[in-house]
Symmetry: C2
Subunit: 244 residues, 2 copies
């Protein structure tokens, strides 16, 4: 019986993949994934059997991958960013039965986007998705409010789409119940892809930004500073003369 | 004038480094870092000028790295995991003045440890350090309580040390104000190093675990499941017939 490896590709550029992820793709006989991600890597790993499924075809993708593994093939299921964070690893394990699932981690957008901005996640942080496709919006609102009350830095995934035009604005209004309007925030777009960009702004300015599905958004904590065009959250609070 | 690249090494094993991190170390003339991390990579990048500083020598390490860059050298400052998450990138940018700082991201312990356990961070999560060296304990307590109230999955960094033997126990007691004793939790040890291990248990059992500085701890949300020896947080909540 073959096995399935859930592989995190990182943000997009091959240089941001780990050596383990590259090896997993080189050694796999079958590569399964959302067609957008398959297009990213197809040319680099020739001679593979490819199982493409459309966006939101997650259950079918897992079923096909597990079926291929049960027929004796080694299968890699590719995920953008990390394989576990909003990725396919969990669903694969849930559906696996006796089939072995290995998870090869990757650089998720919270980390790759942070590197573009400087160090916005230098202290405790939360990662919250604004997509209410599988999560009630009330739950998302509650998490946003409590994360802001906790003074956590926040990375926001899926801040908007054509159907969810005002979600980022709604999120900012909730955060503003606890965070100051001047809170340092950052936006990254198209991380590791053509058109990559990063911008630093205040939470009040972020509230006015049109959101789209190519964005990852960062909200600082009360200590986060803007230094030139970078966003930096210090690793600690000044506790009176201790080594910083 | 040279520049400084803050490089995330990943959890330890070279296979978990990105190609960009490897290239940054190959092209640097000077490698600066905590001596424990320098020992990890010294043999793989021969012929470099090495600037070693002890644990907690962060400010001095940055000063030396920036000084070398100002003298025209290309410098890599190495960090375990990611360069920004509790890493050196922020302090470097704060101290840099006109010197260019580039951040090369890496796989942080929340991601590499999660991959060992399965997919404990498959939905919204918080990363919280239990070290009170630079953060008042009351702030840490508040973050733990609010993260549990928000039903976020949590990755705990620095859960204990010789001086902080009971911090993990104290953290568990705070989480238990909102999370059920049966909440699925996981411990990873020595990720990407000799003696690597992972174990799944309940929050009540986690409360009894002796903590040390080689551990990264994962606390599930209300939906997290134990599947065999794996820990999985589903990507969403069942909202009545939508594609999972």
């Amino acid at each position: 019986m073959g096995k399935v490896v859930a592989v995190g590709l990182g943000p997009g550029d091959p240089s941001q993949m780990t050596a383990a992820a590259d090896r997993a793709l080189r050694t796999a006989e079958v590569i399964a994934g959302y067609s957008g991600y398959v297009d990213q890597i197809r040319g680099r790993y020739p001679g593979k059997e490819i199982l493409e499924t459309p966006m939101r075809g997650e259950t079918e993708r897992c079923r096909l991958a597990l079926e291929a593994a049960r027929s004796g093939k080694s299968v890699a299921v590719i995920c953008s960013g990390d394989a576990g964070i909003y990725g396919m690893a969990g669903l694969l394990i849930e559906m696996a039965g006796d089939t072995e699932i290995e998870v090869v981690p990757g650089v998720t957008a919270a980390i790759s986007g942070a590197a573009l901005l400087g160090a916005p996640l230098g202290h405790d942080f939360a990662v919250i998705s604004l997509s209410d496709l599988l999560t009630p919006w009330e739950k998302i609102e509650k998490r946003l409010e409590l994360a802001a009350e906790a003074d956590l830095c926040i990375a926001l995934y899926n801040p908007g789409s054509r159907k969810r035009k005002d979600y980022l604005q709604r999120a900012c209004r909730i955060l503003l119940r606890h965070a100051a309007p001047e809170t340092v925030c950052g936006i990254t777009r198209n991380i590791g892809r053509d058109g990559e960009s990063a911008a630093v702004m205040s939470l009040r300015e972020l509230e006015q930004e049109p959101a789209d599905m190519f964005m990852t958004v960062f909200v600082g904590n009360s200590q986060t500073r803007r230094i030139g065009d970078r966003m930096v959250t210090p690793r600690g609070y000044h506790l009176g003369g201790q080594e910083q």
